[in-house]
Symmetry: C2
Subunit: 412 residues, 2 copies
């Protein structure tokens, strides 16, 4: 079976390396045919690469070659990945991608194109890197109504938060270390603002609940505003702050989907997920909670997920794998601001003792938190359940209190 | 698609209930045909059951009915499950089972029979209950060389150990509670002696490494000898005692497979797996460690795994799923006694202070452990790496020391 790999970056080069090293072995164990990389599409030059005879700069070489039945897309981004992927599917070639932006934004069109052309469009590597999650969610948990998915979906932010929690390091310092280690990009926006996690929760929610979810419709908040004070207060509440992507089906069938920092109790399976690791907690009505944990990024973890999809595509050339979803359902996503939740609140106040009665009068029962080094100019607590709108209104009504931090308390 | 369910116990009745309740919904989402339970084979009478018109006591009704293309086997044990399963496969019917004893003992014969008849033999529910593990291991991690698998594979023993660790309860008392809650059988041997975990690690190892592994060839030790003293010493070493099934591929290609209690450091992902939960840690050369966690038993978790296999079988009636392994490889399993490992040792001694120099002279560096309430008649420590044979020999040579407990230190 001849394949082409589009893009020779971290993941693409990992795919080529795994197939070169293990192609024959895979044939014996997992497939009836040998797996062979015939083309690598890449605009850059790699004159000293041992695969140099496979390189092409011309996509037409691949699309015209009838020997190529599976194409791997690891270019990333929407353009030209979308165009290339569409053309491959239309030409009757199976496509495997690790590109979460492509799947989150254009997944529906590509799935429909794949269906029309009776080929596979597979994307296990787009969520959770090397962690098997999309296929288990779609196939192994098929008999469940999924109630919710909560996940630590971005390794970069989890690394930064771990440094803040374990080493009392500021966000800025931790980010610099993450960049130095290659975990964060020079422009870290997509990670630290939650956009990357948002794409992944959209893909998970689409698979679990059956309709395309567009990232633009999902509120996402990053971790740039988290202060060490918040980390300390969370610790006093036997909790840690994690960036959580959440997708829940409400009783009325609507979906509550959100990416935001959250206060996670240490008894949660997600609390001990540290460094660049990812974990996804799926709650099904038959299985209850099932957790998938591992390396959510990196060359070989992600490449191995791509190669597994290639094998699956090769084993299903004549019969499509039924992994996918339908069109978006307008109005299915609730405004997250209308959902009641407990919140962690940190205020700047003129005097914490004097203002406390007013706060209690406005917010009812609160659970006060403490940290060493706090002055009377600061007050932090956990509230009862409010919508974010209600809570912010009530806090704005309290004279002499300025809202410095508001973080939801996770229910996972 | 009409199916038959053999056995109407916990799992079988769960399968019928899920299909009755969700058959139509599954058809819309996951399958092209409706799913319908036509027969339930059961020797007991259920006169008031709402499915009573489906019951039969005659297996011939099922085997002769050409409308039945998928048969679910949830009888358990080898007889008559093996005979029924063989006959179904030979008759060209797909079989899905939750029966770990059947798969561990007769899996190879049944896989070969399935292949011969071009039908599926699927058994996701046989390991880890509702946790997706066999399909992810076989399909999603296909591009990996699996280095090792370590798992908490038996919920009953994990519940008992959790009670011993968290509530300082003796093994006997914890077992009684487990029996009262329905987690342990009246005769708890298969669970507490490690036989159940042994069947599961055999299935995992066969899938991961490619050859049938028979439970009789795998040393398995249970948890009946674990004392609260051992639990306390482990805690002083920042560890917990867990019953771990382990399967590792050694550099020479041989397999080290074992079920035994193990000292697990609290930093391990397996240490926080409590109560009846199961978890399986798979170490692949591309993904590194991936963890699967959830409810390893129970009616609906297990039944949902069975139904997922039924859906997969229905979606692959014309093309077999390639999940399985080949014949056993004689001599591939190393004698566990020849493998070096660190051990936890508890001795009864005449005087711990006086004997310590002799112990150090025999065993070299040891890491002494302490617990509150220990007298000078007791000594516990962690050793350097020894084979079990070497270590027992050395301890037997120490006059005035009697070996009370020997537990391997886990490497996961």
């Amino acid at each position: 079976m001849n394949i082409a790999v589009l893009g020779y970056g971290t993941v693409g080069s990992g795919v080529v390396e795994i197939i070169n090293n293990r192609g024959k072995d895979l044939m014996n164990k997992k497939m009836s045919e040998n797996l062979f990389v015939k083309y690598i599409l890449e605009i850059r030059d790699f004159p000293d690469d041992k695969n140099k005879e496979k390189f092409t700069k011309n996509f037409e070489d691949i699309i015209r070659d009838h020997e190529i039945s599976v194409v791997v897309e690891t270019i990333g981004g929407i353009n030209p990945a979308f165009d290339f992927t569409s053309r491959c599917l239309s030409a009757g070639k199976h496509v495997v991608t690790s590109n979460k932006e492509l799947v989150a934004e254009k997944g529906l069109e590509l799935l429909e194109l794949a269906k029309k052309n009776n080929v596979n469009f597979l994307f296990e590597a787009s969520v959770g890197g090397g962690i098997p999650i999309l296929r288990p969610l779609s196939v192994c948990l098929a008999a469940n109504n999924i109630r919710s998915i909560n996940g630590i979906l971005n390794g970069t932010t989890n690394f930064i938060l771990t440094k803040m929690i374990s080493d009392n390091m500021s966000f800025e310092t931790a980010l610099k270390i993450a960049q130095k280690k290659g975990y964060a990009e020079k422009d870290p926006t997509a990670d630290v603002e939650g956009h990357d996690a948002c794409r992944k929760i959209c893909i998970l929610a689409a698979l679990a609940f059956g309709n395309h979810i567009y990232p633009k419709d999902v509120h996402s908040e990053g971790i740039t505003k988290i202060m060490l004070e918040d980390v300390a207060y969370a610790a006093s509440y036997n909790s840690v702050i994690k960036l959580i992507g959440t997708a829940q089906q409400l009783n009325n069938g609507q979906l509550y989907i959100l990416v935001s920092p959250a206060i996670v109790n240490k008894t949660s399976q997600l609390a001990s997920v540290d460094d660049v690791f990812n974990a996804i907690l799926v709650d099904g009505d038959a299985t209850d909670e099932v957790l998938f944990y591992g390396k959510g990024a990196g060359k070989f973890p992600t490449a191995s997920a791509v190669v597994a999809d290639v094998i699956d595509a090769c084993n299903h050339t004549d019969k499509r794998r039924l992994i996918g979803w339908g069109p978006e359902k307008k109005g299915v996503i609730v405004d997250y601001k209308t959902i009641k939740n407990q919140y962690y609140v940190r205020l700047r106040v003129f005097d914490s003792f004097q203002i406390l009665p007013t706060i209690k009068a406005n917010l009812g029962d609160i659970h006060l938190l403490s940290r060493s080094g706090a002055t009377t100019l600061e007050l932090a607590f956990i509230t009862n359940e409010y919508t974010e709108t209600e809570l912010i209104d009530k806090i704005e009504n309290i004279k002499g209190a300025e809202l410095k931090s508001l973080i939801r308390v996770a229910k996972c």
